[in-house]
Amino acid sequence: MQDNNVSNETQLVTSTDVNNNNTTSNTKKIYTSGRPPWYDQQGKLKNPLVIGVCGGSASGKTSVCHEVIKALNVRWVVLLSMDSFYKPITKDQDPANYNFDHPNAFDYDLMIKTIGDLRQGKRTQIPIYDFKTHSRLARQNTVYGADVIILEGILTLYSKELCELMDIKIFIDTDDDVRLCRRLKRDIAERGRTLTSVIEQYNRFVKPSFDDYILPTKKYADIIVPRGSDNIVAIELLTEHIKGILKERGYVAERSMPIGGITAESLPANIHIMQDTNQIKAMHTILRNKATNVGDFVFYSDRLVMLIIEEALTLLPFKEKVITTPVNQVYKGEQMDCKVAAVSILRAGSCMEHPLRSICKGIKTGKILIQSDENKQPHLFYERLPDLSDSHVLVLDPTIATGASSQMAIRVLLDHGIPEDRIIFVSVIASLKGVMWLNYCFPDIKIVASALDNELSENGYILPGIGNYSDRYFGTGVKQL
């Protein structure tokens, strides 16, 4: 067999994971980190950069990809392996005599659709190919769009249609002898195969396929990298080139987003900051005070959040309803004219669920777990959503600081087909920068908060702020900062 056994599942790696390697289970690496949307200065979604990496078996494609990803230092990279796109083999086909190195072994239609969807920033399901049964597993990996998408494999440049989706096509040109040596070493040492079987397979499938199908695609490559990942000069040049293209396309780092003279007084219409009554201010005074104990924090948080939810609900569509009162009088009233559901962003969002349920009886509540890494970059770890197809959705998160995790949550909802104008983001404290960034990316979503703080600290905390909301609500954490 070919490269196939490198892993039995899709390898999805983001740049942060390459650096930290912290979420990997023993042998399999499955990272499905999403990304915030990538917008240009005009707020338009930009196509991500698609890179195809091609080369013979054991040419060092994956190593080159990892070196490039590390050097790029771009946040959202999706690395896809062609291995995920093997066609399931049928019952009458014998795996021992099946040519896994032939172009027909790959599902190019699915690859083209997948890369096409990812290019549009859509959520995409990547099949998981099981090399034991040579079929696809029922479950799939979910991948969100990225800034850079890399597809690597032995025949990535074989399909003309697939090539047309690629911005950069790379061929890794490693000497045949080196590749055979690597293969022998790897298959015998790591996979317990015999010398004879490896050589037999090499002569029967691997070499002919390389000569007939893989090598000829070299002419379609934009860049040919001899000697694989050892070629430091080539990787440096490649990285600089990719950086140049990203810059040209208007890639903006989130931190550098200009607020452009917006103040609390001139907010866009879709940002609703509640009227600053004495009660609300007094509750904020208790919640923000670092001396406040957990009991009081929970009580006043629940009380305040109830008011915020009531405020958020006023933004939903209503219709007229005429009723008769117990004294037989007609009353011209109103009635909510839509379904409402909620999605809380764990862990802090769950602090808002109890008050929500005491206002909206039996409301469906989905959960999304997004964790920020040490660079304040959000990663999606978990999502469990109800059917939201015809509902307005209240997204719950008590603080909007940089807005990065909020953005990601919204991205997840958009990917589930919920239009922006049916999303209300409900928060206790928002930073000016955070809400402006959200509004800039998603102008049609509504944001409701009970207070707007102007400053954001170096490490992304809202100032004067409230500290870590969920630690304070749940009484966890050694210290607040």
Partner: protein
């Protein structure tokens, strides 16, 4: 017909009407509808009452205070500057206690029962004043002992003629509560009741959800909610 603050000519001090929006209107629609089941009536009344209590608390004095947040920054806030208690007018006013407790932790709540005097056909304070059943000491227990030093949130869901609540205010004043320290919170008020009550007690703050059209000849509020206590406690016939 409803929530029309402008249509009533109310010359007195301050009547705070809950800001009308779709939600508030929607809640009123639910609780005014005679078809609404009791569990829904209770649930949506409670929601509305919480909002009214929050609004009522905004009438209280506040003082400025600075606190340090966990980020080390200073927040210029405010704090509650007075002691408060609740007084509910039995029975309907008791329906507002849950809402009050949900908003004010560990609040003291006194009770006043006012019944119709069969001889004079006028409201008469039964409780805490009825000398036949209650000794002087027991009477004291029905309202917080230090009520004179507190702001009082007086609870009664309907302001119809204003007779009952006027009696209740008399009790409070007798106990030394300052008139300007009383905040009367109700869900629906009739213009007649507002006129009567404010003429008598111009310094009491009134917080209401909606101001209705008028009273009918049976002194029911039109369009009204019906008998709030009966609907809340399930004792309608």
């Amino acid at each position: 017909m409803s929530s029309s603050t402008t249509s009533t000519s109310t010359p007195q001090k301050e009547i705070v009407v809950l800001k009308s929006n779709h939600q508030v209107k929607g809640l009123f629609t639910l609780i005014r509808d005679r078809e609404t089941k009791r569990e829904d009536f209770i649930f949506y009344s409670d929601r509305l009452i919480r909002l009214l209590i929050e609004e009522g608390l905004n009438c209280l004095p506040f003082s400025e205070t600075n606190v340090t947040t966990p980020t080390g920054a200073t927040y210029n806030g405010v704090s509650f500057a007075s002691k408060i208690c609740g007084v509910s007018i039995v029975r309907a006013g008791e329906s507002m206690e849950a809402g009050l407790r949900a908003v004010c932790k560990q609040i003291k709540i006194g009770k006043i029962l006012i019944q119709r005097d069969e001889e004079t056909a006028r409201p008469k304070v039964t409780y805490p004043r009825n000398q036949i059943y209650i000794s002087k000491e027991e009477e004291e227990d029905k309202l917080p002992a230090d009520i004179a030093n507190r702001h009082v949130l007086l609870l009664d869901p309907m302001l119809a003629t204003g007779g009952t609540v006027a009696q209740a205010v008399e009790v409070l004043l007798e106990r030394g509560v300052k008139e300007e320290n009383i905040i009367f919170i109700n869900l629906v008020a009739a213009p007649e009741g507002i006129r009567f009550f404010t003429a008598k007690f111009p310094k009491v703050s009134i917080v209401t959800g909606e101001i209705d059209s008028n009273l009918n000849d049976k002194k029911y509020i039109i369009p009204g909610i019906g008998d709030f206590g009966d609907r809340y406690f399930g004792t309608e016939h």
